[in-house]
Amino acid sequence: MKKDIFQAIADPTRRAILTLIALQALTPNAMAVKFDMSRQAVSKHIKVLQECELIKPAPVGREIYYHLNPKKMQELDNWLAQFRKIWESQFNQLDKVLSTLQNQQK
């Protein structure tokens, strides 16, 4: 659900985790070290990110590496494209308004 994505990325630590694992897949232990956090705190963030499918687990031997789910990030981009469309539509209206005002001045 989209709502979950936005709740997930509203948190600065979770955004930092996403930024970091965009560069390379990480284990929870590695994240705990990078962010100087407890394993429990990291697990909580991972749970939220995984629930909204922003990250995906990949077991390697005994370790679980988490990596970014590009498909879900694309969904977020699609959503932002709608927001872009809102602005685009307003500015196209403004073009017409400006054109009308300029004609009136002539």
Binding site: K2, K3, F6, Q7, I9, A10, R15, A16, T19, L76, D77, N78, W79, L80, A81, Q82, F83, R84, K85, I86, W87, E88, S89, Q90, F91, N92, Q93, L94, D95, K96, V97, L98, S99, L101, Q102
Partner: protein, 165 residues
């Protein structure tokens, strides 16, 4: 007419910030008026088929614009803009957010920092807008408030748009 005018829209997701650059084929003075005079703002300040209606606008530093956007079905969404910097024909800054019909601001959806710069070159006016949202959840609310339904854009059009992004 608009096709050769710049429209640049970028998002810094980690900083909750959007950047917009848009050119207009009009002199700076007119574009400034279009952003700062309520009667002109109301002619373009909401994405169709929504319409914008300024309830009052006190265009001074420390002043406020209180306005609503109305859907074709008559649904009303209220917003405020609180002016923090006004440098005529050059720079405009305000804090914005959603409110109810009695102008009561919802703290969870107030605090977006808007910074607009205006400049003119050879009769083309460029407006550069930076908006820092308190969270991207605000953007989501903007769509949830009904803009989505207002889109004339079909899904297939959206696909084409995305392909161009």
């Amino acid at each position: 007419m608009t096709s050769n005018l710049l429209f640049d829209f970028t998002v810094d997701k980690t900083a909750n910030t959007i950047f917009i650059h848009r050119e207009f084929a009009a002199p700076l003075a007119l574009v400034w008026d279009a952003f700062t005079k309520p009667d002109i703002l109301d002619q373009w300040g909401a994405p169709a088929p929504f319409t914008a209606h300024t309830i009052y606008m006190n265009f001074i530093v420390g002043g406020r614009r209180f306005y609503k956007m109305v859907s074709p079905e008559g649904l009303e969404h209220y917003s405020v803009q609180d002016y923090t910097v006004i440098t005529p024909m050059s720079n405009l800054q305000y804090i914005s957010g959603f409110s109810d019909k009695d102008e009561q601001v919802n703290p969870a959806f107030y605090g977006s920092i808007n910074n607009l710069n205006f400049s003119e070159t050879n009769g083309i006016t460029t407006v550069s807008i930076t908006i820092q949202y308190t969270s991207l959840a605000i953007l989501e609310m903007m769509v949830e408030k009904g803009f989505k339904e207002g889109f004339t854009l079909t899904m297939s059009n959206l696909e084409k748009l995305l392909a161009r992004l």
